[in-house]
Amino acid sequence: MRLLIVEDSPELHQQLRAGLTEAGFAVDGAMDGEEAFYLGETEPYDAVVLDLGLPRVDGLTVLRRWRAAERAIPVLILTARDSWTEKVEGLNAGADDYLGKPFAMAELVARLNALIRRSNGVAKTELVFGEVRLDTAARAVSRAGQTVRLTALEYGMLAYLALHAGRPISKTELTEHLYTQDFDRDSNTLEVIVGRLRRKLGDSLIETVRGQGYRLIAANSG
């Protein structure tokens, strides 16, 4: 899952980047409103963490511009200004969630996961594919009751395929959502990751659709 962090305080920016990367997100950052608007316009992020008090263009304006340009990226506002008046203004400007500073990294991660699930039309936190269970809240994967350890990239790919289960996902789309902007994108790595996921979770889980990319078999209920 690829995130855009918009935060102008260098320390918090660094902490957010570290914490969210550790949580398995591919993280791009912007330090001011103009850069944020540009990145949000051009890159296919799965969610945005947006501070409100930004240099050049403030956060609410950035958000309103995205919405005016019909960019539907889920946006979580992260700000010290957390009075209800400000929350109402932010949410009614098109934000999907609102978190006040100070905050716990774990809560931010949980909210972002919930936001991404919701934006993909998935209500449940736990997704089941045959004997594979994916808990998107705990970021835990198990196969036949046994916990399977995945790297951040492996988990990211599995989660992205799982949220779009039943639909073939092109390598380009996967690359865009798994790697940050400045990452050296080598599509061979995708094949390596898919190979590792098949080895860990079973060959039948991810199928290769010729010319179109990869597809996760549709989720079972339960």
């Binding site: 009075s83 209800w84 008046t85 929350k87 109402v88 949410l91 009614n92 934000a95 999907d96 969630d97 609102y98 100070p102 809560e107 919930a114 699930r117 919701r118 209500a123």
Partner: protein
Amino acid sequence: MNSLTWRLTLLTTLWVAIGLGLIAWFVVRTDERQIQTAADARLGSLLDAVVAAADFDPAVGPLLVRPLADPEFDRPLSGHYWQITGPGGSKATSRSLWDSRLVPPLHEPEGIRARDVDGPRAERLRLLERDVQIEGRFGRVPITAQVAVAREGTDEEIASLRQNVILAFALLGTGLVAVVALLVIWGLRPLRRTRQELVEVREGRRQHMDVAAPIEIAPLVAEIEALIEQNRATVDRARNHVGNLAHALKTPIAVLRNALEAGDVTGARTQSATLERLVQHHLRRARAGALAGTAGAESTPLAIAEALATALRRLTAARGIVIRVSGESEARIRADSQDLTEMLGNLMENACKYGNGQVAVRVEQAAPGRVVIEVADDGPGLPEGEDGVALLRGVRLDEAKPGSGLGLAIVSDLAALYDGQLTLETSPRLGGLAARLDLPGRLGPGPYPGPDPYPGPDWPGLSAPSR
């Protein structure tokens, strides 16, 4: 232009122009008449002289038995003329008329008739005529005697009079306007002085306003002085708050640093929570401090509840909570709308958090001058006898749900600031908790009932009656 000096001067000019204009017109008219009357009187005595010297000879017609004293009547076209008309239209005229004639007589009304006519040189003449019976050598004969004198002299006199009057009144008017302008400028000098003092106070060159102002603006100066005092108090209070906050933060920071150095993660976490709570608390205090002097603010609870419901529906989109807002759309509450948003936001968020998917917000008038907003949910509600506990700062009844536990305490504090109160009970309709926020307010525009208008949060001696 929006200037007092201008306005007053303009009004004065208008009034002076109209007033003096009317008086000047009246004076000129009166004097004109007097001049005319005097001229007519002179003309009248000439007419008498003509009548006295007139005689009638049936063979010759009318004639003067002796010449008039004024030689002007003998100088051709001199501007002094006489003419006597006898029975049958026979005429005698002064030599000055030469071969022209004065206008024929009118014969009525009776007595001396005065009018303006054109003369032989096409000049304007003042003409007096009179019908008389003369007792001559040849018996009683009716004749008409006419005397005319050029108007030139009279007209010049009148013109010069008019010019003098207009000049005099124009001078007087200009003088009056100038004096008024001076008066206004002089009269407004205390205002300028007050402004200057205010500038000095603002720039810190002066502590207080000089209250020795004229009685008309002394109250204004006193009010400004009071405002300055209030500002100073507010600044002092703010400074105090900042000081308090800084000091309150020092201890937890010290403990936090020690905990971090000792690698005590739990201790550090506790301290950071303490810090967070302190900051929250002081933010509220700051807000409450800012409230002093914002009396008169009004907010519309239904509109605020609806905006909050929209925001909360977004926040809780995944849970599909049904939030219903109903009640009096015209209701208004005597509270700053940010504070009402804060109170309602906390209550409605709680209802979303602890309820099972049903939240109902209702705005109604409880009693004249009081508006109640009830936020009800279908959650477990409060256990019997726990009402007060939840209101205590930092205590949460259900520790499992996220949140700082400050929500209800903040609402209760804010409500108290506005002479209102928060009560918790069980909702009869939804079965869960019903939070009732009772605040001063009214339905629709209009005056507040009761003799005691909302005194503002920090009004001394008028605190909320205990209920």
